[in-house]
Subunit: 417 residues, 2 copies
């Protein structure tokens, strides 16, 4: 017997029929003897509707009132799932963030969880075998007593934080995909589902566009060493053996893995724009003079490459921004040319970033070199390279994205056999 947190997203609770399907998933785990807390999102579409109303009422609106409005979506789902569970003969009750309480910071609309008191829920596990159905995405700011929300996708974070507070054995994230893949299956049909990835690898995969989990939930799982299991909510509850190994991806600490993947997956993002600022005076503070104004303009800078200068006097700086922000970024940099002090502004708006992720890179030399050779063999020009401990990224012409991803996927032995 163990203690489980099960989290279901918006598409999994989109209507009453699906909520009843979720109830059967929960019943399966309860019948297998587990203590269960369920975390639910709003029914799909509901949060968008509520957000749209806030914006219609006033484009600039009080985040505290926004939170009161949008938190209602999860409240509805929690009550409905409790009802559906009870009708299957399972003891269940709903919990709103303020009832537990889930204490958060006062950063309304993007609050951070400060503390969760899981004692009453744990007591009820023992005394009544009661399933806790918890509204995700929300909490309360203790000092003001007002409802807070964690920001879009925050239910994943709720689930992992609650799992930690309840000292659960695992946090199961039920979603509309059946796990984390080596790359986007729409680009590489031979992409494989990963049985296991480490928190660190998942952070790189998630932030690079494998939109399975909210990044913060993975960080939280890493901090609390809470294993997260990503699995499909569309599997028939009756087809799953609760004692078997269901399909899905387990995200856990590296130490728990039998072996590290050298390469775990290939991520990519199109719609990048590359900016090169040439022959900048090579002196302290020059990077700040470029990236400060971009940050002030709320432009998200991704890859940054600065080479050691040849003459010790000037250097070239290359970085990428989202294609949608390119015009503003260009305006920001060129209007400050005198202040920054550079000779030339080059740019290319049709580029893509391809990243290779794997915690085994730490101990395996030459992983990146293989990629450069394979891409060269395909005549794919590498515009820039950045590396980190468990990842390297290359910037290429966008037209070659799919070819590059498929080439690397095969190169590192990720193709399904």
């Amino acid at each position: 017997m163990g203690r489980l947190v099960m989290k279901f997203g918006g598409t999994s609770v989109a209507n009453i029929e699906r909520i009843q399907n979720v109830a059967r998933h929960v019943k399966r785990e309860v019948d297998a003897g587990h203590e269960v807390a369920v975390v639910v999102s709003a029914m799909s579409g509901k949060t968008n509707e509520l957000v749209a109303w806030c914006t219609e009422a006033s484009p600039l609106h009080d985040a505290r009132e926004y939170d009161a409005v949008v938190a209602s979506g999860e409240q509805v789902t929690s009550g409905l799932l409790a009802i559906a569970l009870q009708s299957l003969g399972i003891q269940a009750r709903s919990w709103q963030g303020w009832q537990i309480p889930i204490r958060t910071s006062d950063a309304h609309a993007s609050a951070r969880i400060v503390e969760i008191d899981g004692s009453e829920i744990i007591k009820r596990f023992a005394e009544r075998k009661e399933v806790a159905v918890i509204a995700g995405f929300q909490g309360i700011h203790a000092e003001t007593g007002r409802i807070t929300t964690l920001g879009r996708g925050g239910s994943d974070t709720s689930a992992v934080a609650i799992a930690a507070a309840l000292r659960a054995d695992r946090c199961d994230i039920y979603t509309d995909v059946d796990g984390v893949y080596t790359t986007d299956p729409r680009v590489v049909p031979k992409a494989r589902r990963l049985d296991k990835v480490s928190f660190e690898e998942m952070l790189e995969l998630a932030s690079l566009g494998a939109k399975v989990l909210q990044v913060r939930s993975v960080e939280l799982g890493m901090v609390h060493n809470m294993p997260i299991f990503v699995r499909s909510s569309f599997d028939k509850p009756e087809d799953i053996d609760p004692h078997g190994t269901p399909p899905g991806t387990l995200i856990s600490s590296e130490e728990d893995s039998m072996e590290n993947h050298v390469v775990t997956g290939i991520a990519f993002s199109k719609d990048e724009a590359q900016i090169s600022v040439r022959r900048i005076e090579d002196k302290p503070g020059v990077a700040a003079s470029i990236f400060g104004p971009l940050a002030d303009a709320n432009i998200n800078v991704d890859m940054i490459v600065q080479n050691v200068s040849e003459d010790g006097k000037t250097t070239d700086l290359t970085f990428t921004v989202p294609a949608a922000d390119f015009a503003r970024a260009k305006q920001t940099i060129t209007s400050a040319q005198d202040k920054i002090g550079y000779a030339r502004f080059d740019s290319e708006t049709d580029v893509a970033k391809v990243s290779v992720i794997g915690s085994g890179m730490r101990s395996h030399a030459g992983v990146a070199a293989q990629a450069f050779a394979a891409l060269a063999a395909r005549n794919i020009n590498i515009r820039a390279i950045t590396t980190s401990e468990i990842k390297f990224s290359v910037l290429i012409d966008a037209a070659y994205t799919e070819l590059a991803v498929r080439t690397l996927h095969t190169l590192y032995g990720l193709d399904q056999v």
Copy 2:
């Protein structure tokens, strides 16, 4: 300067445009120097949607979960109205029932208000001139910490209870009609809006089908002597002089009225069925033997007429039930014939009740006698009569309902001139 509670129902907050219209009504009162608390219902249709989901999840559902689900409707409106008020430059914040708190009994789905702590809201009136936007219809059961609701239409009751707790000068109920009428204007085009009625009169008018206000809110107004002003939310806020006398009906204690109406209004209800149980043994407990089983079957009995028996041995008992319940009522009575001990069961399913209400009846003799004569002159047969201090009702054939209402409306000088 005074202190006002303003309550807006579902049709008045049906979409963002109407919520913005409500905000302008509130601004008018704030600009006139009033301290204002606003009580809101769910956007029209929302509560029905939420209730339907609960029923779809399980026809027999936990009232505690039902409350968590349906209370979300008012939560949404309160946040949206606070946003709309702020965008007009007015200090405002939303309050959920549990935040104030509005403490209620634990009778989920039909809880009664136990206590409201208005101190924080009053403090904020003084310190910040802040408008309190309160989610109607809901509260919290203090011992369990769970959300409760007051039952359908409960926002009227919330508003009056909050007005009492805040020691407001008046509770304004904005609705889709502009007041309480002498009778249904669809039946009598010459029906007049009443400027003033007493709580007692309103109770009789409300329970008899003038569905302007929830009956409990009027009872509460009477207990706390809180004047209630019924007015239209569809008037243009800009057209109303906050210092003038807007159209509407003031419901207050009789003592506040300059004079009592002899007759205030004519109420009626069709879809009644009349049952007469003939020659029952006239002994103690016989009424209980009839009405007990009907109550057990959840059949609402309205008029009850029992005459003094002629021979001192048997009596006839006549009463009415809703037409929809007639078949069940008949079954209940006839299957217990031996136990009750009666000779004959008569019934008539096509009858209507017409009631004449007026607190002046207390001091004016012969009011009812005038009605009987006027109805007789129109050849309308009176099947049964009941009277109370400020009301009398006659049971007639349903076909004559409109004629009877119009006749009495003219008789008592209620027609518009």
